[in-house]
Symmetry: C2
Subunit: 313 residues, 2 copies
């Protein structure tokens, strides 16, 4: 039997992307929507529903829809509490409204969880019952799979790896939480710290020379400051991941986002630091891998979520 | 219908305790066994099986057996990898051997997980699908419930709250893991740190004056050093628990072990520190409570595990 088709919607602050997905393949896309063109939530919801209905006309066998949003969602009801960077989206019953307009079952999920679902259902963590997925970018997000299911927690707020503490006396994160991983490893913070290292060594650089891509390039050219920056990045990430391993004993850690493209510059010291603080029973079994998906992770993950939720095998 | 009966066995390094359990009630106990009286594992297993068979004669309606051990267990096969403080117990197929001798289905579990099961099935976390249970004693152990199931992980090594890091540059734990919570909050470490605080303040004390009980008593008498010691204890514990909350978004945290008996000296500053580093969505829903069970947690938890595993509702 053919694999079922579903629609994945990656709802970002500056662009909403659509895809009709079958297995790992995006078989149709539509024009993106810019949320700023629809200042009222109702207008934007109508525009999204219009796209969904068009897809359904072209592919009547579509079984369900998934939407990944940058914010905090009540998963069972599909109500959005609030969105980062999208004005006016507070307490919006997105699932209910979309279902009424499209007549397709619709699941709403946090975007970091959606990326984790992409890797778990279709990507690097496929077939794993215990997995940690994280995304390293401007922010640090994550999603957790345990006992073969997404860990959403009591208020559907679980999986926030960026908020885990690596230093109880450390830098404050977005919630005044000391030592928040994101306060060290977000792209801007990593750039600022590396710039400081350069300047302390008497090397004049600009902050724009300190993107992860620039630091990776410099490290590949043998620059010691850049190499040390990656080792420091890996050391801090390892502290948070080791804690996560002690709590959850995953079989795999999948790392995505722009920083993961540094490849061995990140993964080699990360695995070294991680192995240095885990127990024998499980450290040798643990796999640490880059994510399979990049820009398509949001579409693929939400489409896969729609299948998990609404398509009985 | 009467609640089912099961046997709980709390296998400690210096004493093995037995109980026939029905619901929350221990309806029969037997004489304890000292593991040192049976230097070979086979002898000790025979002695344990003898007790089980005697209980079964007296209570033929017993449905299953649970055993909690101080060590690392392969849960599905019930094979013990190794035990802390019990010589010669390496790679012992305890489940298989006990089942052959007693003809009762038997589950083997790590002792910290067994305590978590007691609180989850019968105690403070009863009815909760997302719970964190930890025990503060010589060591710091824990157990995690997520999505209504125990989180054991890929090699059944999950739930090790004592090994979570609160400082990536901090004190080393048992696995050379920097900032291990246990390296600060274990009874001996807490005593040594408080003794140091006393001496720095010019107050002569002995390490034996710095047990959790002594520090609690001093704090109740208004001693500022003791009050500060509890605040520091709570601050460090909060860092680890906040991380755990960001990852798992539990509805409840249950704290047991001797230190939990400090009551408000611990819980008040703990909740203050914890609230200071969690997000709005869930911090107001989070409950932090002392454990219901003390010395009986091991027997009750393993007996409850036996019911969970082998008694279909």
């Amino acid at each position: 039997m053919d694999k079922p088709k579903s629609i994945g919607i990656d709802f970002g602050g500056t662009s909403i992307k659509f895809g009709v997905v079958q297995g790992r393949a995006i078989i149709a896309t539509g024009e993106r929507i810019d949320p700023k063109d629809y200042p009222k939530p109702d207008q934007l919801i109508s525009a999204i529903a219009g796209r969904v209905k068009k897809f359904k006309e072209d592919h009547p066998e579509i079984v369900a829809v998934g939407v990944g949003v940058p914010g905090f969602v009540d998963f069972p009801t599909g109500t959005i509490h609030n969105l980062t960077n999208v004005v006016g989206w507070r307490n919006i019953a997105l699932k209910k409204e979309l279902e009424a307009l499209t007549d397709l079952p619709t699941a709403i999920e946090n975007d970091a969880n959606a990326m984790a679902i992409a890797e778990w259902q279709l990507g690097a963590a496929k077939g794993c019952d215990h997995a940690i997925c994280l995304t390293l970018g401007t922010g640090v997000g994550g999603g957790i799979i345990s006992n073969g299911a997404m860990v959403r927690g009591a208020q559907f707020a679980a999986g926030e790896l960026g908020q885990t503490s690596i230093d109880y006396n450390g830098r404050k994160g977005n919630y005044k939480n000391p030592g928040a991983l994101e306060a060290y490893l977000g792209n801007n913070e990593f750039a600022a710290d590396t710039l400081k290292d350069y300047r302390e060594a008497g090397i004049e650089k600009d902050i724009t020379d300190c993107s992860p891509q620039h630091i990776a390039q410099a490290a590949e050219n043998g620059c010691n400051i850049a190499l040390k920056a990656w080792d420091g990045f890996a050391e801090k990430l390892a502290a948070s991941l080791a804690t996560t391993c002690w709590l959850l004993n995953p079989e795999i850690i999948v790392i995505g986002g722009g920083v993961a493209q540094a490849g061995n510059l990140l993964f080699k010291p990360l695995i070294k630091h991680l192995h240095g603080q885990l127990g024998e029973p499980f450290k040798n079994h643990l796999r640490v891998l880059p994510a399979d998906f990049k820009n398509d992770a949001g579409i693929l993950g939400t489409a896969a979520l729609a299948i998990v939720e609404y398509h009985a095998e």
